[in-house]
């Protein structure tokens, strides 16, 4: 029986920051699911804020490396999906507030 929880996986991924917006991928709402089997193999299903993101491959690697740091984890697989497409309603309240409430500074 594996003792790695979904929360633990999300906690690990929350160390990965999107350098453009400055928020972690979990609070951005980019992580759709984390499936953990009995052998502690983890499959992360996630998306990106933009399909043409030039950091696509790197972000995938960063998420993989973050999850691999969890004690006792087995194989880690990252799947990037485009359905459902990401939108701001998926982000945490603090992200929504920060992005939409950016102080106008002319």
């Amino acid at each position: 029986m594996c003792n790695i929880t979904k929360e633990k996986v999300y906690e690990a991924i929350s160390t990965v920051i999107d350098p453009e917006v400055g928020f972690n991928l979990v609070e951005m709402g980019l992580i759709y699911d984390a499936i953990i089997d009995d052998n502690c193999n983890v499959k992360v299903i996630m998306t990106l804020s933009t399909r043409g993101c030039p950091l696509h491959q790197m972000i995938k690697t960063w998420v993989q490396e973050a999850v691999e740091k969890i004690d006792g984890v087995g194989e880690v697989e990252i799947e990037i999906v485009w359905e459902p497409a990401w939108n701001i309603s998926m982000a945490a309240d603090n992200v929504k507030e920060a992005l939409s409430g950016g102080t106008p500074s002319f």
Binding site: T15, P19, S49, P54, Q57, M58, A85
Partner: protein, 412 residues
């Protein structure tokens, strides 16, 4: 499966010189403006020299550098032969200098500069077509790359014919060719490229999602057709055909502006950074340029309306869209090269920390006030207003140059 790996991304040392040189040409073009007055004719060699300094030295050099980075992002494949960009820049840079000297000092030099520019553009377009053949996707931006590069080749060939005509090597009707050349390059390549790229970049930086792309598709088709119709109309010398082309292009640009409005309404990021301010000023200038352009078309013999319209299109729209994006693209390139390998190992900067905000703001304000003042100078035929604006533009360009040096040097 979509994937842009690090292998697809050209190294910073390949792209950075495009941005450095482009900004230097921009600065030189603003300095050169001080030598001009608010009234002129487009057939003047001095004007042609300045236009080529700005369009080839600044606009083309930056677009080519940006395309080196963005083609893999847009097409989702690596370049066919990325190292060709090492050849494109010196050819284009030296060719531009040759052409400007040709226009300003000695027309006999024009074909030599022209052949270098022609060669660089043929290499650029051929490489882009070779890369296009590798992609399996078919988005509006992919279509844009294909059509705009075709117009680039047509435009540069007519331009080379003009260079030969001006130097006395061949006998052609320069005025007829000039219109076809300007429209193919400015409308066919520059405008279509900006339309295509902005549809990728603006939603990416503003985090706008789920928008309908019908307007841009219509806009793109209409502009592509309109440019072709004006080009043919100019070559065969039939005014009616040219008018038809102008109208088609205008409607197409209207659809493009409507598309940008849709994206703006869905924008998640409301922060008014230098990029956002530049986009607002750029699209405001485009709308102003169209309004003044229409006034010119319905009131013949009012050249100052034409001059003002072109000014706001070139400096206000193209200039601000390019300069605004530099503050997003350059920090990303530097971050990607110098800091991405350090992620997870040590603290890395955020992209917005990597450009000098104070100098960026100074660039924006000096340039926007300068553009407006000079535009008013052209409209009211006031040398005082025009030169005042040009002085402010030059100061803005100095701030841009300093910003660029700081961004490229960040973390070195």
């Amino acid at each position: 499966m979509f994937a842009v790996s690090k292998d697809f991304a050209p190294p910073l040392k390949l792209i950075a010189p495009f941005f450095k040189l482009g900004v230097i040409f921009y600065l030189l073009s603003t300095i050169a403006l001080l030598a001009f007055n608010s009234t002129f004719a487009y057939q003047e060699m001095a004007i042609a020299g300045w236009v080529h300094l700005f369009l080839l030295g600044f606009v083309m050099v930056i677009i080519f550098g940006a395309m080196a980075q963005l083609i893999p992002v847009v097409l989702e494949v690596g370049h066919a032969i990325v190292d060709l960009y090492y050849v494109i820049l010196p050819l284009l840079g030296i060719g531009t200098v040759g052409m400007v000297i040709g226009f300003w000092v000695n027309p006999a030099i024009l074909p030599y500069g022209g052949i270098l520019v022609l060669t660089s553009m043929i290499i650029f377009a051929s490489e882009a077509f070779a890369t296009l053949r590798k992609t399996e996707i078919n988005t509006i931006t992919v279509k844009t790359v294909a059509v705009s590069n075709s117009y680039l080749l047509i435009g540069i060939l007519t331009g080379f014919a003009i260079a030969l005509g001006l130097s006395g090597d061949i006998a052609i009707d320069v005025d007829t060719m000039l219109k076809a050349h300007v429209y193919a390059v400015l409308g066919g390549f520059v405008l279509l490229t900006i339309m295509g790229l902005s549809l990728t970049l603006i939603p990416m930086f503003s985090l706008a999602h789920g928008f309908d792309e019908t307007p841009i598709n219509r806009g793109f088709n209409l502009v592509a057709i309109g440019v072709g119709v004006v080009f043919i109309g100019a070559l065969i010398g039939v005014d009616f055909v040219q008018w038809l082309g102008y109208l088609t292009t205008l409607v197409g640009v209207g659809f493009y502006i409507y598309q940008i409005y849709i994206i703006y309404k869905l924008t998640v990021r409301k922060e008014l950074d230098v990029w956002a301010k530049s986009m607002i000023f750029g699209f405001g200038s485009l709308i102003l340029s169209i309004i003044v352009g229409i006034i010119y078309l319905v009131t013949p013999s009012t050249e100052h309306f034409l001059n003002t319209s072109i000014w706001f299109f070139m400096i206000g729209f193209i200039g601000f869209l390019i300069n605004g994006h530099l503050y997003k693209i350059v920090p990303f390139l530097v971050w990607f090269e110098r800091f991405s390998p350090l992620v997870g190992k040590e603290k890395v900067p955020m992209l917005h920390e990597m450009y000098p905000k104070g100098q960026a703001n100074m660039m924006f304000w000096f340039s926007s006030i300068g553009t407006t003042l000079s535009g008013m100078g052209l409209l009211f035929e006031s040398d005082y207003l025009f030169k005042s604006g040009a002085s402010l533009l030059m100061i803005g360009a100095i701030f841009l140059y300093i910003s660029m040096s700081k961004m490229l040097g960040y973390g070195k």
